[in-house]
């Protein structure tokens, strides 16, 4: 984007609220608008890590090695968070000491653990976008939160402002690091996207290279995007099919059906159903109350308590 273009379209790429700013810009070359969205069924997710490894394979993520991992420099765009059941005792008892051992002793493991695949939520009003000093991260017409690597100057403001902590910074030039891609491991790299250089931020793109190809094929054939046109790498690998992905604006897509069945509305910061005491739906978005309008709906994990 040229400087003049950036200036002209500044507000378009800087939503504060998807409704205030009129939602997406439309790319008039499309047959109809696209909003990529996802839903993740935590009940089906087993925490097996297949999605995460598939993401490494698809998106040229570097292996950083033990030392850098210890410094929190792992580059997993898709990570699995593991949580235990909370102890039934009053939390205050532990808080004073923040003694992990004490907490751990009282974790409730009777119903196993809980797993949460965490990736960029592609927020509609993304906190990361408003703080980038150079406009390297902004909103795309198909509802993604883009990251333009060669525009990024590495201020890391976006990462600081991200409530989900899903942005990853290239502290090193990974092709030069012994762990990442020693010959011939580099031959596995996916040529559909670049390897990021030192000093730039990166994050999940909802497999931009795959959605691009799907859109491109649909345009050439003069038709709408269908669900079967595109799967993200994590979705394609997931052995339990916990991840759905597609165009939320297409009422026929699985994602749109799931969102509407769960009464989760993209542009609401508080869902109507949350106010109803007898709602038996399990769709929710993480940290919705911060108003980032995330594009990923999670479905609560269900466990039988009577056994």
């Amino acid at each position: 984007m040229s400087v003049s273009n950036l200036l002209e379209n500044w507000s378009k790429y800087r939503h504060t609220h998807p409704l205030d700013d009129g939602g997406h810009a439309d790319w008039n070359a499309y047959p109809s608008p696209i909003k990529w969205a996802m839903s993740i069924d935590l009940d089906a997710c087993t925490g097996c890590n297949a999605c995460s490894v598939a993401c490494y394979a698809e998106n040229n993520l570097p292996v950083v090695g033990k030392d850098k991992y210890a410094h929190g420099q792992a580059m997993h765009w898709m990570r699995i968070e593991r949580y235990w059941g909370e102890p039934e005792k009053a939390i205050d008892e532990f808080d004073s000491a923040m003694n992990f051992q004490l907490v751990a002793q009282n974790f409730d493991v009777d119903q196993g653990a809980q797993f949460l695949p965490m990736l960029c939520q592609q927020c509609e009003a993304a906190p990361c976008e408003t703080v980038c000093p150079v406009g390297a991260t902004n909103h795309t017409e198909d509802g993604l939160n883009s990251q333009i690597y060669n525009r990024c100057i590495g201020s890391r403001y976006c990462s600081a402002n991200c409530p989900y902590k899903v942005r990853y910074f290239n502290w090193y030039s990974y092709p030069d690091q012994e762990h990442a891609w020693p010959e011939p491991l580099n031959q596995q790299l996916n040529p559909d996207l670049t390897v990021r250089t030192k000093g730039v931020m990166e994050k999940c793109t909802f497999c931009k290279q795959r959605t691009y190809t799907a859109r491109n094929d649909a345009k050439t054939e003069g038709r709408e995007i269908r669900d079967e046109d595109v799967q993200t790498a994590c979705q394609q690998a997931c052995p339990t099919g916990a991840i759905s992905f597609g165009n939320l604006f297409n009422p026929e897509s699985t994602v749109a059906k799931q969102w509407s069945a769960q009464q989760v509305d993209l542009v609401k910061e508080k869902q109507d159903k949350d106010g109803t005491p007898d709602n038996k739906l399990r769709g929710y978005r993480i940290l919705e109350e911060l108003r980032p309008f995330p594009s990923i709906m999670y479905l609560e994990r269900v466990r039988e308590s009577a056994v």
Binding site: N49, A57, H76, G85, I91, Q101, G112, Q188
Partner: protein
């Protein structure tokens, strides 16, 4: 993007430039310099090879024995991504993380690239001549072959080679093997590897079977599990109870996880039969007789599971039929492991699950291609032979016993006594390092092979022959597939029969074409058409042979688990992780960097200690501890883990390599090296969980490198992140 039938040889021929000389796009080249890079240029590509568009070829995953069918995405002659083959009855288009990492086994920087004789690089002619020379002085009984599980045409060739040598010394050894399961299933269900129908069960009670992680065919089971959990399934949403001393991935996904005293699983199973009988379930006579002494009070006292919990389990099993009870390595890895498994199988019979959720599977109509599976007993037998100096030539292939044999066997020392040791290896692992001659193997992305999966999904008598085919040209000119090597060896012994085959590809093609009709190709008049269809699908569906032996009615005599030794008070439960498995994948960096799902630890091994036990021992997270058994001591970091029985500790297998490659070597500690040589009384399988240890603190402490934060995965005082809801609070019937 297409899937096509084609002539493989022409395809491979065209990729000269694509494979090697094309400057790699996507490697961080940000400069623009016209005229500095090459353009992808072919001499004669197939129509469907289009630069910048991926071509998909079907093949078979070789990462574990489940044998999932995969599709490789190939760009400009390089395989870059593996996906599941949607047409597969095993994995239905899905893959696990281990399968995804298959490309890293292929592009691994530490592969053996040339034959090596006593450390010196030699040509294949010299290598084969050396084998020929050594074999000349050996009788058939003096030549031994140690392999991992083998099936398909590689197995057929291997059998032929052994016959040509006059040797019967074929030992099949899998470091982590479901050998007890096979034996007990045959005895109790009449079939070694029945089809488990998790998707049909209304309740699954699993005694330590980690079917979502590393047990038998995890991707298949994961998909069944997803169906099992659906609220809109005709049977309704299923309930999973996992009973095991150390929480596995499956345990982490259970509705109820029960920490049982290690080794008492059989007692609980019999206790449940007893309780079911008391609750009015019609229990068959032999089962009722076997269980009559196992009152709830007694079982509760012996297993540590509360009487209340046993009652709820019995109610669950009574109300939810059909159910499915599974026995996994956590129940089987004891001196009384077979008995435990038999008691658990008896519970299935008492519940009437046999035939409902445990279906008799079909075996392949080509018995010469059927999987030859192994166990530890084979290794023990080989070890005895080696110790006696019986073998002049020993071949090893697809297995690493120098690393994975319990130290008490002294396998490395005995192996050294063999006259001439030949290792067929992809890495210079511990066994290959100790060998005289190392023959470099192709990766699964370069080799031709067929295989028959031991556990088969699908319905009825469906079975299949899976085809492994090269997804790209060899990375190194001097590697060969196992089939190629066996063929070359056979040419030495029976030139008349085999000299007509240029390579294993030629052999395989002719062998398959010779059976075209039996392989379902009757309608294909043209051999090439049949061949192209076969290769484009890489799955040959077959009608299997159902043979069921009569199950034994004998009630198991359950012997009590061994009492704890006061000087080694803790039971060591070696865990098999979904990614590193028995250690053969330790050199794939994605897997090392992929956190263990439960502890979230990376790049190291650890010992899991229950918080109460840790407090008792004065151990905190990150303390470096000595884990000492009767057989040895290893050092590792302590991780305080709530999902373990207080009297047990657990360490992951597969770490602590002393060779193999840059990622595996020196990462973590090798649990095999402290395992006591205790065997299951009935099958001779190594009792993995029969090692008792003591834990002693050293003066060192580290900060554990792991994914979870300092609060250890606590959501205390935080907004809703990972939310769990009780089943009665949701309505799943209308979900999409």
């Amino acid at each position: 993007m297409s899937e096509n039938g084609f002539n493989r040889r022409d395809f491979l021929k065209t990729l000269g430039w694509g494979g090697t000389a094309v400057a790699l796009s996507g490697c961080g080249n940000t400069s623009i310099e016209d005229g500095a890079e090459f353009v992808t240029s072919y001499s004669e590509p197939a129509d469907y090879v289009i630069p910048s568009i991926g071509v998909y070829y079907n093949s078979t995953c070789a990462q574990c024995d489940a044998g999932c069918n995969i599709t490789g995405r190939v760009r400009e002659g390089r395989v870059i991504k593996l996906e599941g083959n949607a047409a597969s009855a095993i994995n239905h288009g899905k893959t696990c993380g281990l399968g995804q990492a298959g490309v890293q086994a292929h592009y691994n920087p530490d592969r053996v690239t040339q034959p090596k004789l006593n450390g010196q690089t030699v040509t294949w002619e010299q290598a084969l001549a050396a084998i020929s020379e050594k074999l000349a002085g050996a009788s058939g009984a003096e030549v031994a072959f140690l392999t991992g599980g083998v099936s398909g045409h590689v197995r057929a060739l291997l059998d032929n080679y052994l016959a040509a040598l006059g040797s019967r010394e074929h030992f099949v050894y899998e470091a982590v093997s479901p050998a007890v399961e096979r034996a007990v299933n045959t005895k109790m269900y009449g079939t070694a590897m029945p089809r488990y129908r998790i998707d049909k069960a209304r309740a699954v009670v699993s005694f330590g079977a980690d079917f979502l992680g590393a047990w038998v065919s995890p991707v298949n089971f994961s998909q069944q599990y997803a169906k099992f959990r659906k609220g809109n399934r005709p049977e309704g949403r299923g309930v999973l109870v996992q009973i095991e001393p150390k929480m596995t991935l499956t345990g982490a996904n259970a509705d109820r996880w029960i920490a049982i005293r290690p080794g008492t699983e059989g007692i609980l199973a019999l206790g449940l039969i007893n309780a079911l009988g008391a609750a009015g379930v019609a229990v068959p006579g032999d089962a009722a007789a076997a269980a009559k002494d196992y009152t709830t009070e007694r079982v509760s006292a012996e297993t540590g599971v509360s009487a209340d919990q046993i009652g709820r389990l019995a109610t669950l099993l009574k109300e939810r039929t059909p159910s499915l009870v599974l026995a996994g390595s956590a129940a089987e890895g004891y001196a009384n492991g077979s008995q435990n498994a038999e008691a658990i199988a008896l519970l299935n019979r008492a519940l009437g699950n046999v035939g409902a959720t445990i279906e008799t599977s079909a075996s392949t109509p080509f018995p010469q291609l059927a999987p030859r599976v192994g166990n530890r007993a084979a290794l023990t037998a080989l070890n005895d032979g080696l110790a006696a100096g019986k073998y002049k030539v020993v071949f090893t292939c697809g297995t690493n016993p120098v690393y994975s044999a319990p130290a008490s066997l002294k396998f490395a020392d005995n192996y050294a006594k063999a006259g001439f040791k030949v290792a067929l290896a992809q890495y210079l692992d511990e066994t290959a390092q100790a060998a005289d001659l190392v023959l470099p193997l192709d990766s699964a992305m370069e080799a031709w092979a067929t295989s028959v999966p031991e556990y088969m999904g699908g319905e009825g008598n469906y079975t299949q022959l899976s085809v492994t085919q090269p997804l790209m040209e060899r990375l190194y000119a001097d590697t060969r597939s196992t089939g190629d090597i066996l063929l070359a060896l056979l040419k030495q012994r029976s030139p008349d029969e085999y000299s007509g085959f240029e390579d294993f590809y030629a052999y395989l093609r002719s062998a398959l074409l010779a059976n075209k009709t039996a392989l379902g190709g009757a309608g294909e008049a043209d051999d090439d058409v049949f061949w192209n269809v076969t290769l484009s699908q890489a799955i040959i569906p077959l009608q299997g042979v159902v043979s069921k032996s009569a199950p034994q009615s004998a009630a198991p005599a359950l012997s009590a688990p061994a009492a704890a030794d006061a000087s080694y008070p803790l039971r060591l439960i070696p865990s098999v992780s979904a990614s590193i498995r028995d250690g053969r994948h330790a050199n794939e960096p994605w897997l090392q960097e992929s956190p263990d799902p439960l502890t979230t630890i990376v790049w190291d091994s650890w010992v899991e200690i229950h918080p109460k036990k840790a407090a008792e021992l004065g151990i905190v997270e990150g303390d470096i501890v000595d884990v000492t058994s009767k057989s040895g001591t290893i050092q590792t970091q302590a991780y305080i883990f709530p999902g373990i029985h207080p009297d047990a500790v657990s360490m992951p297998l597969g770490y602590g390599h002393t060779a193999m490659g840059r990622y595996a070597k020196g990462t973590g500690a090798n649990v095999y090296s402290i395992l006591d040589a205790v065997y299951d009384k009935d099958t001779g399988e190594l009792a993995l969980n029969e090692t008792s240890v003591k834990i002693s603190k050293t003066d060192k402490r580290v900060i554990i490198v792991k994914e979870e934060g300092p609060a250890g995965g606590s959501q205390v005082n935080r907004a809703k992140i990972a939310v769990k809801v009780s089943a009665d609070k949701v309505d799943l019937s209308k979900e999409v």
